[in-house]
């Protein structure tokens, strides 16, 4: 079984709106995959379904052959687009929490990254800006030695200088057998790190290709192909 993630006929309906419509996907190990689509196309819904934060209306998801549950949570490192940290905690408290609950968490790595971004372990999250909190969250998530990283808009809220550091961090901190799926609409910034892309539009997958295939077949960059496919 070479795929870390598979989903079959995955559908999620909110009220009367089909946010995901019959999505079937296989994502192999050891790839960096961009989940690309405009706002409201179903990227976040897909990632939340993989984390069991949402329940599918129909269809199924398998991560390493298992449905989302305790066993998949042990191997999936998830960065939500929201701030999920409790304000009253210090950075060191939250690192302790990750260490307590995730066997694959490397606290040393986390402290190193905090240092290079100039965030003090004794700072309270309450006193931090939105962007700094996002950095802390990303550090926590990337300090796990997980098999699958699900990063929802990892660079959405930070300045361009920090973006480079974050992309660098992502590249440096994942091993070859792990897969990263990251959702974004800031394509030009991340294009250079992607192996594969998935285009998603109104809950449907419209394209899955490797970046090399795109370049060979169309002679275009991912960014310009995106602009073409999603032309308003």
């Amino acid at each position: 079984m070479n795929n870390i993630l598979e989903c079959r006929n995955l559908t999620k309906i909110f009220g009367t709106k089909k946010t995901l419509d019959n999505v079937t996907l296989s994502i192999p190990r050891g790839r960096i995959v961009g989940l690309l689509g405009p706002n409201g196309s179903g990227k976040t819904t897909f990632i939340k379904l993989c984390n069991q934060l949402l329940t599918p209306t129909s269809g199924e998801i398998l991560i390493e052959g298992k449905r989302p549950g305790i066993e998949t949570k042990k191997i999936v490192s998830y960065l939500p687009e929201k701030n999920y940290l409790s304000d009253w905690m210090k950075v060191s408290d939250i690192i302790g929490l990750f260490k307590d609950f995730y066997d694959d968490f490397n606290a040393e790595k986390a402290y190193d990254m905090l240092k290079s971004l100039g965030i003090k372990p004794n700072d309270r999250l309450k006193s931090m800006s939105k962007g700094t909190k996002e950095k802390v969250q990303l550090i926590l998530v990337m300090s796990r030695e997980a098999k699958l990283y699900l990063l929802d808009e990892p660079i959405g809220g930070v300045d361009p200088a920090a973006r480079d550091y974050i992309l660098d961090t992502i590249l440096r901190n994942y091993n070859e057998n792990a897969t990263i799926i990251l959702s974004t609409h800031l394509i030009s910034d991340i294009e250079k790190i992607l192996d594969e892309v998935i285009f998603i539009k109104e809950g449907r997958i419209v394209l899955t290709k490797t970046v090399d295939e795109i370049r060979e077949e169309t002679g275009k960059s991912v960014d310009s192909l995106f602009r073409e496919v999603f032309k308003c």
Partner: protein, 263 residues
Amino acid sequence: MLKKLLKYEIKATARFFLPLYAALLVFSLINRFLNPFGLIASSSNLNLQVIISMLSIAAYFTLMIGTLAMTIIIMIQRFYKNLLGDEGYLMFTLPVKTWQHIISKLLVAMMWTILSFLVVIGSILITASIEGLMDKLSELVKIFKNYFGTAGFFVISVYAILAVAFYIVMVYAAITLGHLFEKHKLAASFGMFCVLYFFYQIVSALFILLFSRTIFSFLIAARVPTPQEINMFLLTFALLSAVLTTVNFTLTNTILQKRLNLE
């Protein structure tokens, strides 16, 4: 994992309760030594001392009611915010079973409820400064024994603890049911609480009817029950509470596990 969850739940809640308990006990001591009740009773005009006394009494009662209110607010807030709010994104992606989340919240909420109750009682005893407190207490114990028998102490404690658990889990169930609604989740949660409350009142009433000739016959005959009767009555209700708490717990657990939809 449950141990770790308990540790973080206590850490997250102690920062509210411990300062509150300390403040309440400090004000009880102040009130004991200032004796504001006596001062107000003995002075005929409104002087500075009387005003300070009044303020001190007001602060004391505010703290006392605040402690009890806080216990309920924190209990609701921890479940709603930590599990179903943004923090739920972290809690539900930890490799922990759903029932462990609920149990850890429940046990810690029960602990603070019982502690708040004891601290308030303690503060009243400190403030009241009853002379010969021990004598009065042993007198109270004697009266209690007449009504409930020696076993009564145990039975009442069990009943009280189960009743606390019952109400807390009912709140959890109501919030979880309310969260199934797509809109107006908070209003729906409140509505669900009323529905559950009404439903369990009916269940209790039916229960009494069912055993009206046996366990609850003293209620129908409107006579003073014997200690055995009253303990039997309490134990039966404790058992009913335990069963209904299990029902609510299972309901909450199943919904959070199978139908979770975090916004």
